[in-house]
């Protein structure tokens, strides 16, 4: 048998929960309204401080028909932060994939969750700065939209690496995640378990090396 005191306590706690939930929902709505009033679309978007002049950047756009990467210059207002710069560059690149008449078509126009930077450990034989490792966290939606095949997947990875290295030369190595997790392949072919050297993304297709016996 439940006592009258327990019943009253339960009702009071239930009422408190409802009031707190209502209060939190109102707070969230107010924050959303404030962000929209400031012209920020969503918390995940990249804020670029007003007044920053646009900079010419180079995007390497793949061509599926001949397996090449073509340098395309764009004028972009880049944020001061390196991570945000890398995200803006890669989002612009994916927009180029999505554009009408693209030579490397993709059905979505966005797909980079975050880009993180880590210092590359210096080896004993190395002199000078070994550079930085960029960890590119791609979205699951981009991996799902990526056309499957060795060529299209490899070209996507190479264009990302070439674009990052061209505009942020300190990046010497690139590793890929999908939705924050290690992934075996991008869409069934290109290996994402290894770390790539940024220099592997040579925009000019290299002829086969002459066999050295």
């Amino acid at each position: 048998m439940i006592s009258r005191a327990h019943k009253i306590l339960f009702m009071v706690m239930l009422l408190a929960c409802v009031i707190m939930a209502t209060f939190l929902i109102r707070l969230r709505n107010r924050a959303q309204d404030r962000l929209q009033a400031q012209g920020v679309e969503a918390p995940a978007s990249i804020a670029v401080a007003p007044g920053i002049p646009p900079r010419t950047v180079t995007l390497y756009v793949p061509n599926d028909l001949d397996g090449s990467l073509t340098a395309v210059e764009r004028s972009l207002a880049l944020p001061a932060d390196d991570n945000a710069q890398a995200r803006v560059l890669l989002e612009s690149l994916i927009e180029a994939f999505h554009a009408t008449g693209s030579t490397h078509p993709m059905s979505i126009a966005s797909g980079v969750n975050e880009v993180y930077f880590l210092p590359v450990p210096k080896s004993q034989s190395q002199s000078g700065d070994p550079g930085q490792l960029a960890v590119v966290d791609l979205s699951g939606a981009l991996a799902a939209a990526q056309p499957s095949g060795i060529e299209p997947e490899t070209l996507t990875l190479l264009s990302i690496m070439a674009t990052l290295h061209a505009n942020l030369p300190n990046i010497t190595e690139v590793h890929f995640l999908v939705d924050g997790q290690p992934h075996e392949t991008l869409a069934g072919h290109a290996d994402l378990t290894r770390t790539y050297l940024a220099s592997e993304a040579n925009p000019e297709p290299s002829p086969p090396e002459s066999p050295a016996q």
Partner: protein, 249 residues
């Protein structure tokens, strides 16, 4: 726990010239002639020097994907795993008709892990390993060698980078296939890529990705499942491997 670490390290190493399955097994019988003990005491006719065994020319064909891994959806009714199996079956028959020994990693719609595919290929000590793929993107045939940097051959190769010691040979094989496909007027794209199980293969290895043929001045548009198109690709590959038979050593 040290012995466990040592055992794990051994399983990740591939002997440069011995099959993977030999790791941890008894050594194969030696081919060196064993002289009797008294042969130094009395003059006798020395045994004829043993002829060095000629390595057999074996080609490994790996039909990519299979089972629940369907690969690319080339059309709503056509999956990559089926195209790769058809191509591999045709190529195997034609190679065998040319007197070339063939080992395949997959002969049915079965899911074979990349590790097992590499193990089968390395066990065969093949003269060429062809990893067959298909895609709906691009035009013609895409040839990919591993993106690993060349490394000198050592007795035990790390499993993850076993292909590094074979890169020079792989690029030679790639140019042989490139020439044969060009002769057949099939557009070719050359590149380097990191695709499983290529980096684990201890043999000259190339990934061959067959894409549809886009119509042009000298080419007629063909689907990747077109039997005539597949035959022209298979014939070019057989011609390349025939030429490789005299060049690979």
């Amino acid at each position: 726990m040290r012995w466990i670490e040592a055992a794990a390290l051994l399983t990740l190493l591939v002997p440069a010239s011995a099959p993977m399955s030999a790791v941890g097994q008894t050594a194969p019988p030696t081919t060196q002639p064993v002289l009797p003990a008294q042969s130094t005491a009395a003059p006798s006719v020395p045994p004829a020097p043993a002829q060095p065994a000629q390595p057999k020319f074996v080609v490994v064909l790996d039909a990519a994907h299979g089972g629940s891994d369907s690969g690319a959806h080339l059309r709503p009714d056509l999956q990559e795993k089926d195209v790769t199996l058809t191509l591999t079956t045709r190529l195997r028959s034609t190679l065998q008709a040319h007197g070339i020994a063939v080992v395949t990693t997959r002969q049915s719609d079965a899911g074979i892990p990349a590790l097992n595919r590499a193990e089968t290929a390395n066990h065969a000590q093949a003269a060429a390993c062809l990893v067959i793929h298909a895609t709906a993107t691009g035009s013609g045939v895409h040839l990919y060698a591993s993106s690993l940097s060349p490394a000198p051959a050592v007795r035990l190769q790390p499993w993850q980078t076993a292909q590094a010691a074979w890169i020079t040979q792989s690029l030679k094989l790639e140019s042989e296939i490139d020439a044969a496909l060009a002769h057949a007027q099939i557009p070719i794209t050359l590149g380097r890529a990191s695709v499983q199980p290529m980096d684990n293969l201890a043999c000259p290895a190339i990934a061959i990705e067959v894409a549809p043929l886009v119509g042009g001045h000298v080419t007629t548009a063909r689907d990747v499942s077109d039997a005539d198109y597949q035959k022209s690709v298979v014939d070019a590959l057989v011609a390349a491997l025939d030429a490789w038979r005299s060049d690979w050593k």
